[in-house]
């Protein structure tokens, strides 16, 4: 017997002055291998054309569809209803600006993070069309790629105690981004530059170590290891005999 699933979905349209938040119920017969991408589209096509949510690749790659699914931030496209109870509660991610129902504005926030961290290769060099690429060890390339895999879905900051209290906190995604550039030899920023950027309460020392980020990251990025590494490096940099950083910061 197929289950009848009850969806309780958060509804609110911030662009409509008459709208106030509530939870709306929809019912759907479960079919084999039904995921939330299909389920939400069936609801919108057949029951309620006004329902707002975001999907792009529907393949777990683009990071558009993170939402709170029974209290946990994760990607809707790769969540199967068969892994959930008969009642499924859906809320938009907290922390981000609400655009309507399950849709939030992750794009603007993530652009802000890229600008704050200047998350690009800092170099004095210029690209020469005629010369071969600089050599890189394949292991290092893989290591950079491992940290580069973040899809900016926003699950980590939505599940983060610090981010939900300090809106300026860079979050796991921001600190992971920094770690990616730290190990990249093409980026000429030195440890002191990193120290200035992340040795703050908005940065690596704001984390209180609950590590929900690591639990919810859909890409299984090893955020705990990354944090430890960045913190250790920052403390070493601050304490190094040549450095005046800790003095200026105390």
């Amino acid at each position: 017997m197929a289950r009848k699933i009850t969806f309780k979905i958060f509804r609110f349209n911030p662009y409509d002055e008459g709208s106030s938040p509530f939870q709306q119920e929809y019912k759907l017969e479960e079919t084999p291998r039904l995921n939330l991408f299909s389920a939400l589209n069936i609801i919108r096509d057949e029951q309620d054309p006004t329902l707002m949510f975001d999907f792009v690749c529907r393949a777990g790659i683009c990071g558009s569809c993170a939402m709170m699914i029974n209290g946990r931030p994760t990607l809707a496209c790769r969540t199967l209803t068969s892994d959930l109870p008969e009642t499924i509660e859906l809320f938009p991610l907290p922390f981000f600006k609400m655009l309507g129902d399950l849709s939030v504005d992750t794009g603007v926030w993530f652009r802000g993070i890229s600008e704050r961290l200047e998350s690009w290769i800092h170099t004095d060099g210029t690209f020469d069309t005629k010369s071969v690429e600089k050599l890189m060890d394949n292991e290092l390339a893989n290591e950079i790629y491992e940290a580069d895999r973040c899809i900016e879905c926003g699950s980590c900051v939505s599940g983060c105690a610090t981010a939900n209290v300090y809106p300026d906190f860079l979050g796991a995604t921001g600190l992971n981004r920094i770690a990616r550039y730290m190990i990249d030899p093409r980026d000429m920023r030195d440890n002191e530059a990193w120290f200035e950027l992340v040795s703050t309460y908005e940065g690596v020392f704001g984390c209180i170590g609950m590590m929900a980020c690591e639990d919810v990251c859909p890409k299984n990025i090893p955020l705990l290891d990354t944090f430890s590494r960045v913190r250790r490096l920052m403390i070493e940099t601050g304490l190094s005999s040549k450095s005046t950083l800790l003095k200026t910061h105390s």
């Binding site: 349209n13 919108r44 006004t50 794009g107 690209f127 690429e133 390339a141 893989n142 093409r186």
Partner: protein, 645 residues
């Protein structure tokens, strides 16, 4: 009052091609605004798992590779439908583009000297990588190529290149207006002046006025019911070009099916699976591809593998399932380590979306719509036909290096190469030209768009978008799919024509403020049906089989009559597209056998030189805008004879 933005360069679409053009223009000091349906890093470019082709020749199996070999593979892959000069420009510049992306931070996989084990044509082999090449960009094997040429970053090439590109765009301060959809091109019949756009956040309309406007909106796969494409790939850019009534779309009937979409959901698993040694298996556990294609086996070009799979299924060798008949893709022998690192995205997709563990089980696959070779027809500078100031690049464009079939790894590479080449032309154009537009003209287009919206909101019609979309997707999949014939295509033409009529009778039930997804979908559907019609009409008219276009009733490639590109325009007020034809471009490599696929060829009777002598005149007659350099100047005539061994 709606907002008016002005900029030197306006780009529609923030995927790799659009952003690369933005980067070029911003570096020249021009102002750039990019409009995008989604935040840039969520563009469909990110979903490309496999890689980018460029003849770097660093890997042992790429030894001896050079741009001429890459050019030759591309022309063959296209079944001679490509513009060979464009294919040459592409192949010559691809290595530069890869190195440039390395400079901007892409962690390309690198050569590691010494022995490594690979599966080649089903057999385990040891290949020794040259220690002298250690640390240079390496490559993997993809279908339809003479050498291992596909540069990659593990399982997420599109993702890491797009992230590097978007970060660069942010560094350059390029303005991106995300959740913004261009609905109409503002033009005076000869010159493009910008667009009218609708915000998908609050539903407001804005005018964007620009010196140069670029369509880089990707493909239109979502017109098919089953496609690997992202849900935003609805051809929004091609539609607004077609709606001008003057800009043509090229080769819309050239549609690629990828051999390995998973069943169900149609999510793509990369060609890298077969490139790395995976193979296809039928219901008897038999590896059938070597029987059909002894030489390239599972790695023949995509159109050929897709066709062979359907042929094999028609022989009753497919596996029945509640989601339709399929075949198996087997990568188990590659081992857990390989699958969870170099093919991790594949592993994740199988585990999360269909609950199949590819380390221990075979993956259910079938050919699924994947890529649009056709698009906004542009000259080699990326300048659209018949409308000055409008450009296009990437999958949205028909530039046309892919002809009737694109090779794996050539489209992702095209985005950055075309971005680089077309970006320069766009910047040249914007630097020379002045922003001159009458407010009456832009208001006219604004009024048209707001009139259409009001019409949909107050309509007394009874049609719904999901229903029309479903009927459109079904008829395309069944009647305009991998195998085509006159009867099916005639029926598709009739059904689509009727759908177009019905699309003008849509009722938008909710007048909800804000993004209003129902209205958003209603605004797109008519254009999508028009695109579907250009595909079906083009396919019906083309009485030959070439690349991905396979006519059961015309099984030969006909170089005498059909070595031409289809151009589809939609005259104002018409209820169907109008087709004309132009030469494919200057020919350097004479039409010949591809070496796979096995179709017969009706040879061209006229000489290459008499064909070439007419190209410029006939393309201009069809709307081609004067190129910066004379056509043919980049072709390097005859070089392939020396360099392709």
């Amino acid at each position: 009052m709606s907002t008016i933005h002005t900029t030197d360069v306006l780009i529609i679409g923030a995927g790799l091609a659009g952003e690369r053009i933005g980067v070029e223009a911003a570096k020249r000091g021009l102002s750039v605004i990019i409009l995008s349906l989604v935040p840039p890093k969520r563009s469909h470019s990110s979903a490309a798992q496999g890689g980018m082709q460029a003849a770097l020749g660093n890997a042992a199996m790429g030894k001896g590779d050079n741009p001429s070999v890459h050019f030759m593979d591309t022309v063959k892959g296209s079944d001679w439908g490509a513009d060979q000069e464009v294919a040459r420009i592409f192949a010559d510049n691809a290595p530069i583009a890869m190195r440039e992306m390395a400079f901007y931070g892409v962690p390309w996989n690198r050569v590691k000297g010494g022995p490594a084990e690979y599966y080649i044509k089903g057999k385990k082999q040891t290949i020794t990588e040259d220690a002298a090449k250690e640390g240079l960009i390496t490559s993997r094997d993809f279908g339809g190529t003479a050498k291992w040429r596909t540069c990659y970053t593990a399982d997420g090439t599109g993702h890491s290149v797009l992230y590097a590109m978007d970060n660069l765009a942010i560094q350059l301060g390029i303005e991106v207006h995300d959740r913004m959809e261009a609905l109409s091109i503002i033009h005076d019949g000869g010159k493009c002046c910008g667009v009218v756009a609708r915000s998908l956040r609050d539903g407001s309309l804005s005018t964007y006025l620009s010196k140069a406007t670029v369509i880089a909106t990707g493909g239109y796969g979502r017109i098919y019911g089953a496609t690997t494409n992202a849900v935003i790939c609805e051809g929004t850019g091609a539609v607004i070009a077609l709606d001008t009534g003057i800009v043509p779309l090229g080769n819309m009937e050239a549609v690629q099916f990828h051999p390995t979409g998973i069943v169900p959901t149609d999510i793509l698993v990369t060609e890298g699976c077969r490139g790395d040694g995976g193979y296809l298996i039928d219901k008897d556990g038999y590896r059938f591809m070597p029987d059909y294609e002894p030489e390239k086996q599972d790695l023949a070009s995509r159109d050929v593998v897709s066709r062979r799979m359907m042929e094999h299924i028609k022989k009753g060798k497919g596996i029945e399932s509640p989601y339709g008949t399929h075949l198996w893709l087997d990568i188990r022998h590659l081992g857990a380590h390989h699958i969870t690192t170099k093919l991790r995205e594949v592993y994740d997709i199988c585990m999360y979306f269909i609950g199949v563990n590819p380390i221990t089980d075979m993956i259910p696959v079938r050919p699924t719509h994947h890529y649009s070779m056709g698009g906004v027809r542009v000259n080699k500078d990326g300048h659209a036909y018949s409308l000055e100031g409008l450009f296009s690049a990437g999958e949205a464009a028909c530039w046309d290096m892919h002809g009737f079939n694109r090779l794996g790894g050539n489209s992702l590479a095209e985005t950055v190469v075309a971005g680089m080449i077309v970006g320069e032309r766009v910047a040249d154009y914007a630097q020379k030209c002045r922003l001159e537009v009458s407010s009456a003209l832009s208001e006219k287009f604004m009024k048209e768009v707001s009139g259409k919206i009001n019409g949909l909101l107050t309509s007394k019609g009874n049609e719904s978008v999901p229903q029309l979309k479903k009927e459109m997707g079904d008829i395309l999949t069944h009647n305009v799919g991998i195998f085509r014939n006159g009867t099916d295509l005639e029926e598709a033409k009739k059904v689509l024509k009727n759908l177009l009529k019905r699309s003008r009778n849509i009722k938008v039930k909710s007048g909800a403020k804000g993004g209003n997804p129902e209205l958003t979908a209603a605004l797109r559907i008519e254009g999508m049906i028009k695109l579907a019609m250009t595909v079906a009409y083009g396919a019906l008219a083309r009485k030959e089989s070439r690349g991905a276009h396979t006519r059961e009733d015309y099984p030969s490639r006909d170089d005498e009559k059909w070595l031409v590109r289809t151009l589809a325009r939609w005259p104002k007020g018409s209820d169907e597209p109008k087709l004309t034809y132009e030469p494919v471009g200057m020919i350097d490599v004479p039409p010949g056998e591809r070496g796979y696929g096995g179709a017969s060829i009706k040879p061209m009777k006229k000489t290459i030189s008499s064909y070439n002598a007419e190209v410029d005149r006939l393309q201009k007659k069809n709307g081609a805008i004067q190129t910066a350099e004379k056509i043919g100047t980049r072709i390097k005539a005859g070089l392939w004879k020396k360099e392709v061994k």
